[in-house]
């Protein structure tokens, strides 16, 4: 007890004014540093969501079934790809962004020059259409898979009547008094089709001509880069 009493009557260590000033300065510096680090961290976490959003949306529209270059969903038409220009791209993304569209590394079109920026890639098929022609021997013919836009031209000789054309047993053209001329035929897309001609009288070679579009698809990567 006596020692405790002694402590309070002598010199007491006291907080001095300079120490308070130094503490205040130190604390302010530390606070400022902390705020700076926190701000940087949040800015980094928020890394250009606008770019990513625009790139993803543009890429999604380009591969959609009704996109400006599309034949079907994720299938691009090579002619439409060649015709796709900067104006169409600007129409798609809106002004204010630098956008480039590349197909397997080759630039299709670009608005501005997106140096860095965010890239979204989509997988597509590019379809080139070549025309095919068939002249069947006899009264039936098998079309290649995926033939589309089929037109059948019937020029039977005198005395022969082509009454019915069937595709895989389904009647696609029919006329009792005879078919003559050029007809469009709609076919299912997922199967090979056999066309069969029902005639009265002989059908010599060359009196039926079939024209069709034979699409050829090649795999490609469509990359959309956006720099805001």
């Amino acid at each position: 007890m006596s020692t405790t009493g002694q402590r309070y009557d002598g010199h007491r260590a006291q907080t001095t004014l300079p120490a308070v000033a130094v503490a205040l300065v130190l604390l302010t510096v530390v606070t400022a540093l902390g705020l700076f680090v926190a701000d940087t961290a949040i800015t980094d976490a928020d890394r250009t969501p606008e770019e990513r959003r625009v790139a993803a949306a543009a890429a999604a529209q380009l591969v959609a079934a009704d996109g400006p270059m599309s034949e079907r969903a994720n299938v691009l038409d090579s002619d439409a790809v060649a015709a796709f220009d900067a104006a169409a791209l600007r129409n798609l993304t809106g002004p204010g962004h630098d956008v480039s569209v590349r197909l397997d590394g080759t630039t299709v079109t670009a608005t501005g020059d997106p140096g860095g920026g965010t890239t979204i890639s989509r997988l597509v098929l590019v379809e080139t259409t070549s025309e095919g022609r068939l002249t069947p021997d006899g009264t039936s013919v098998t079309l290649p898979l995926r033939a589309s836009n089929v037109t059948v031209t019937l020029t039977p000789p005198e005395g022969t009547t082509v009454s019915t054309v069937r595709a895989d047993g389904r009647t696609v053209l029919h006329n009792d008094s005879g078919l003559r001329g050029t007809f469009d035929v709609q076919l299912a897309r997922y199967e090979t089709t056999e066309l069969r001609f029902q005639t009265v009288g002989g059908l010599p070679d060359g009196s039926v001509e079939i024209e069709y579009d034979a699409p050829q698809a090649t795999k490609a990567t469509l990359a959309v880069t956006v720099d805001v």
């Binding site: 260590a13 976490a45 990513r52 989509r122 897309r189």
Partner: protein
């Protein structure tokens, strides 16, 4: 008796600095990095699903996805050609697995990697595609 003491303000400033630095480290280490892989992987998975769902099957006159879920035998017959096809569709650095009611094709999905998935419903069941970066 004269005793040297540490000024109380300096003790306080030390404690305050530790507190503020603690919060700062929370920001620096605790902020999640933005997930930049997932949207791209989802896009890959969806594209693969769309392409497969629109491709003619090699045998039964429907689509590729419908064909592989048609029956156990059809799945066994088509699994190799399906794997080759999807391997060609996807970029080289992307691995995949395709799940059907009859089994799965591709590489087993590793744990704790970001993946993208897409599903195609067909008349005979659902085909599920999952892709991730190798």
């Amino acid at each position: 008796m004269s005793r040297a003491q540490l000024p109380l303000s300096l003790v306080e400033v030390a404690l305050g600095a530790v507190l503020i630095l603690g919060i700062t480290f929370g920001f620096a280490l605790g902020t999640p990095a933005p997930d930049t892989q997932a949207p791209q992987l989802s896009a890959y998975a969806e594209d693969t699903a769309t392409l497969l769902a629109n491709e003619p099957a090699s045998h039964n006159g429907t689509t590729r996805t419908r064909e592989i879920v048609a029956s156990e035998a059809a799945f066994d017959r088509e699994r190799d050609s399906l794997e080759r096809r999807v391997d060609r569709i996807l970029p080289a650095n992307v691995l995949f697995t395709i799940e059907t009611p009859h089994g799965s094709v591709g590489t087993p999905v590793p744990r704790q990697v970001p993946t993208g998935t897409a599903a195609v419903a067909t008349g005979a069941g659902t085909v599920r595609i999952e892709v991730w970066y190798a």
